[in-house]
Symmetry: C2
Subunit: 339 residues, 2 copies
């Protein structure tokens, strides 16, 4: 099924997550069953806490990427993809538990965080439990290559969290430093999620590299769009889900750009609100107006487009048209969220 | 001297190298004198070979960046900037000598390469001599911090050259892998050139980080534009300086994109010409037409614009308007070369 691409509009995919959801539907059903199975424990607190977050409506992008990547590479087994996808989702969930404790966050996906409901210690330890279960599932797959990819990712994520401790609340952060943080925090796991799909399909070095790049660049684009959406997206509006990053004093790319491009008064405002945490009623509105005046939100989306284009080109030469199109339309969807 | 920036056209600098040339003119005179002095040797072959390349009309962007960065940071000494700038230029020249031997290149800047005129051994050893002289000048500056930055750069450049040996002539190279190569080959030295200017001016951590980012991103943009220009730029024309990379079988970003986006026939063409080196009379013309059809040259310039924007934002908060404007206009100039 050839597709005629007009290079004048390259990349030309429609922006939609539906094809990815469709082609991974049966795999994801089994992933979800496995997630339930592997959070069982005689210590009843564990499934209770774990499922509280797992069932709270995450998009499950990462395991879908693993399932679709394996499919795109012609994987024809029936278990390894599902186990690795569940492991990836557990790794992701574990970092959310730990992040909420470290950041002292009170809400996540519109609900009170587990640390508020059960406590910090419980959140840290259930996160550790999920990491342990993730490693058990990876080992069951019996692919040393897949283990190497995912264990390297786990180490890099932890390294990135420590790095973020030392750079957090620093409004002088450069864009490059911020990129290093989100490479470790987000891109590394997306990258591993995509690469292990190719690994278990027995793909060669260049195909693995293509999926590694696809995942890493999708991850960066995804995170930058999330950053922009936290202030209402490219055309900011003060909706009800806006401002979490601001209230938590997070220095994300929109802030990095607005801070660097702003006046001395602007910079004093960002330091007062984000570093000192002295946030008044009108400050979120003022923050959004500064982000708009300095074009920081538009350019955050522009930067995300660059990484989306890289993700797109990474997958370009692969033959499986259906899975590839689904993965590429997911990239376009990720960007389109910000409009 | 305030500048009113319309953020609708941000970044709004004029594209010109002249301001950078002007503000570094007196410093560069002394750099050029030092270059002559430090290539003297009782072994008469050394100045002869060294000056053959040094005097062959390079743009001396890197030492200009060091001089201007020191100035932008308020450096008020009179020697360290000049010595470090000369050291940076020597490091750059040394890698050119070694590259030409490794790549078996026959022309450089429109002249026969030194290795053809004097021989490979001579080229390697004169390169080593220049590296030695570079380190001597760095040590004379007596800044351990500047030494740390430049010696780390020297190690990273060498590491990148070895990496390139293993990835060269691989048309399956991903954009990320190619970026790793040019980060090491070009961006690292630009980054160090900019950072040491801030170091000797005694700037704090965040200013150093700003210059480090500026240099690295300028270096990437610079290299990508060079890659595009080797095929005639954004609107390709087959001028007389076009096609060196093609004839040497270099896999640069335009080729990476055209290969990935192309048909099976296209990919066979790139493998035959670049990997096997079977290049016929009409092949350069065909290569350019493939680069145009796949939008590879346009998008290489587009990618370069992304890094130029990052370089721009890196320097945004610095106070010295004159030196800063010169450094930013040089970024815009670098991109404008491709039109």
């Amino acid at each position: 099924m050839g597709v005629v691409l007009s290079f004048e509009e390259y990349p030309a995919e429609r922006a939609s997550i539906s094809p990815l959801v469709e082609i991974t539907a049966s795999g994801m059903q089994r992933v979800n069953r496995l997630v339930v199975e592997r959070t069982r424990s005689d210590v009843t607190l564990i499934p209770e806490v774990a499922r509280y977050l797992i069932d709270s409506g995450g998009k499950r992008m990462r395991p879908m990427v693993t399932i679709a990547s394996a499919q795109a590479c012609g994987y024809c087994g029936s278990e390894a993809d599902v186990k690795l996808a569940a492991a990836v989702e557990f790794m992701h969930t574990a970092t959310l538990f730990h992040d909420d404790v470290v950041d002292e966050s009170n809400t996540r996906r519109g609900k009170r965080t587990a640390r508020l409901v059960w406590g910090n210690q419980e959140s840290v330890l259930v996160g550790d439990f999920l990491l342990g279960q993730a490693f058990k599932m990876m080992v069951e797959v019996e692919s040393l290559e897949a283990l190497a990819v995912l264990s390297a990712a786990a180490a890099a994520i932890a390294e990135g969290e420590v790095m973020q401790l030392t750079t957090a609340k620093n409004t002088e952060t450069t864009e490059d430093e911020y990129l290093d943080v989100i490479r470790a925090k987000t891109a590394v796991l997306f990258s591993a999620a995509a690469e292990v799909g190719a690994v278990i399909a027995g793909s060669d070095r260049s195909v693995r590299a293509a999926f590694r790049s696809y995942g890493a660049n999708l991850g960066i684009a995804f995170q930058l769009i999330d950053d922009a959406l936290d202030y209402g997206g490219e055309t900011p509006t003060l909706g009800k889900d806006v401002g979490d990053d601001f209230r938590e004093g997070k220095v994300t790319l929109p802030v990095v750009l607005a801070y660097r491009r702003g006046s001395d008064d602007d910079r004093a405002f960002w330091r007062r609100t984000l570093v000192e945490g002295a946030i008044g009623e009108d400050d979120l509105g003022h923050a959004v107006s500064l982000l708009e005046r300095t074009r920081a939100l538009k350019d955050t989306v522009e930067r995300a487009r660059h990484y989306a284009a890289m993700a797109h080109d990474a997958l370009a030469p692969l033959p499986d048209e259906r899975a590839k199109a689904a993965l590429l339309q997911a990239v376009a969807f990720c960007i389109a969220r910000a409009h």
